[in-house]
């Protein structure tokens, strides 16, 4: 096996279903546009010119390929598996989000759309969207919950610098889910000229498949890089999961390799048993929200309940439908890490590798802390280092500041 294998895109089916998950649960007003988007995307996917353009921006603008780095000191620290970090935090704008945004903005241009909207939680997708909107000269409106605006001030400022308009969303808990509701309301009102860049592998078909395909560059590169370094595939892959775009991006090109074990790490908040978490697969039930059927945090009456996580990017009561399917198929193992475990792993990564990870990513590292020590050095484990943690300084200082004699950052 010397060449990267191209996984045949068997799912979703024509109706956007991964088994019983996914679909197109949207208002009729949006249906014609969603069907048009699906056609446009199918064309673009097979259009060498579009793909060439995408590759150009992924290379010269985003900075791909991102390195697959052997984390020697983390490996020593945990004393088990050999740990590799897929350095998505080195991408332009500091996270994997831009991979998808570049793809979608090229599609928006191709469809002649005049305006970009997006939702954001931690602000990384908002920043990536504002960035590509600036680069392609399109006006951009970002919906962001007021709670998230509060805890992600740096990213709010970045988006404004990039020329985006930020609309604070006060409904619900003022987090990612509410921002997505508001973005959908904008979209349905401005359906003629507006392109909605969804930031994760959720929403109505074709978004979950399209975002996955744009993020799959992570897994394709990882595959080639590992083959080059070790002449074989990795033994396991670990990624954090909110909506799940960085995880599916890493996993997807390996789904047909039965020997590659995959672990998705949900945000366990104060613990799944406490009820204060964002672990849809470990603590939720199937339902329909934001255009797709998937696992959701909801009460007995089908009302969506609030997610809780230290990480704004994982603070969402649902998960991409393909993850729901992979969970039921038992192809991917889904676990959770608590706020405290993530904070602990966050600090270890800072001190051992000189890399400040995003709090989202720290959840994946927390799972590595549990898993790696039990495994032999020959075990090759890849962690998607999905984002950098500069944006989280305020949150982390709030939780750990005293330890360093720092009150405000």
């Amino acid at each position: 096996m010397n060449q990267p294998v191209d996984v045949s895109p068997s799912l979703p089916d024509a109706n956007g279903l991964f088994g019983n998950f996914g679909g197109r649960f949207v208002a009729e007003t949006l249906m014609p546009l969603i069907l048009e988007l699906q056609d446009e995307y199918t064309t673009a996917k097979n259009d060498p010119e579009f793909q060439r353009n995408l590759a150009y921006f992924q290379g010269d603008y985003v900075g791909r390929p991102s390195p697959l780095y052997f984390a020697e000191r983390l490996t020593e620290h945990f004393g088990g598996a050999s740990i590799y970090l897929k350095r998505e935090e080195l991408n332009h704008t500091g996270a994997h989000k831009i991979n998808n945004c570049i793809g979608q903005v090229l599609l928006a241009k191709q469809m002649g759309k005049k305006r970009i909207i997006a939702e954001t939680g931690a602000g990384m997708h908002g920043v990536a969207t504002a960035t590509v909107a600036a680069r392609f000269g399109l006006p951009c409106v970002i919906y962001m919950g007021t709670t998230d605006i509060e805890r992600q001030q740096t990213n709010v400022f970045r988006m404004k610098l990039l020329g985006a308009e930020i609309v604070p969303v006060t409904s619900g808990t003022g987090t990612l889910k509410d921002a997505m509701n508001e973005a959908l309301r904008d979209w349905v009102t401005n359906v003629d000229d507006t392109f909605y860049i969804i930031g994760t592998v959720a929403g109505p078909h074709p978004y979950p498949a399209m975002v996955r395909d744009f993020q799959a560059v992570i897994g394709h590169e990882t595959r080639a890089q590992m083959l080059e370094k070790h002449g074989r595939l990795p033994d396991s892959l670990v990624a954090c999961v909110g909506g799940g775009s960085n995880a599916i991006g890493l996993f997807y090109p390996f789904l047909d390799d039965p020997d590659v074990h995959m672990v998705g790490v949900e945000a366990g908040g104060k613990g799944v048993k406490s009820g204060l978490h964002a672990a849809s697969l470990n603590g939720g039930t199937p339902g329909v929200l934001h255009g797709n059927r998937t696992y959701l945090l909801q009460d007995e009456d089908g009302q969506i309940t609030d997610a809780h996580s230290i990480s704004a990017g994982l603070d969402y009561p649902g998960i991409g439908p393909e993850h729901a399917w992979l969970h039921e198929q038992k192809r991917v193992e889904y676990v959770s890490a608590t706020d405290d475990e993530a904070l602990e792993a966050f600090q270890i990564c800072c001190r051992k590798e000189g890399i400040i990870p995003a709090l989202e990513t720290a959840h994946a590292l927390a799972e590595v802390a549990k898993r790696a020590p039990q495994l032999p050095r020959e075990h090759l484990m890849v962690i998607n280092l999905s984002g950098r943690g500069d944006k989280d300084m305020t949150s982390v200082a709030h939780h750990l500041g005293d330890k360093f004699g720092v009150k405000n950052v």
Binding site: R24, F25, E28, T29, P32, N181, V288, D301
Partner: protein, 288 residues
Amino acid sequence: MSAIQDKAMNTIANQTMHNPTRLEHCFSTLKQQDRPALVSYLTAGDPDADTSRRLLHGLPAAGVDIIELGMPFSDPMADGPAIQKAAQRALNNGQTQAKTLDMVRTFREQDSITPIVLMGYYNPIYRYGVERFLTDAAHAGVDGLIVVDLPPEHDEELCQPAFRHGIDFIRLATPTTDAKRLPRVLANASGFIYYVSVAGVTGGNAPTPERLEASVSRLRKDTELPIAVGFGIRTAQQASTIGRYSDAVVVGSALVDCIEHATTPDDAVERVHGLVSELAESVRACRR
């Protein structure tokens, strides 16, 4: 419902081959009277269970022909601020799917004529269990369903099962529904067609009159079902204009706003029924 109306409905009932539904009754009666139906929307349980029941029970006397009753949902993506807040008020006061069905059952004890259409989002129905929900809804006396996030692509989820339970599935057509898509939208439609007057959320901008009339007549060429028009209709004046060429006029956010602005439950009932009476008067006079 007056005795004269009752009699008119019975006549029509006897003329029809199958047992006409309440919606069919209603539209054929109004056709004879040459006037559109007034359709009101209120969220079940808004602002609280008791006031909501009083609001509901008084609607027919105030002049409503068809009742849309919203099933509150935590994430109403197709609704503007007014109905979002209504859902939140209802949920905060403990409204559930079971309580909403119970409201219909109680209403049916005093009114067996006025059609009731439940409107909302799929998740609370899905969670309740589709078959169980349809059985309970049919028993309670529900006539139709409008489920915003179930386009025809998902007809096997609820539309087709509803039909087997004798409940109409009311389809939404919108300004973005083009000629290519319309047949798909109309394929399994029943009860009436709900034409969404503007691309947007509920309670938003008023529709452009000329464009709207043209859209409704275009739609009429492809369906024999009655056509209701809703979204952005707030005043008696608008209802009157639109009622000249549509079979029903839907008013929602304007009524829900009355509840938000009310100072007491009595005030809410008075304001809502007051606005309904005004609207009822205008739809009754609009084709004269």
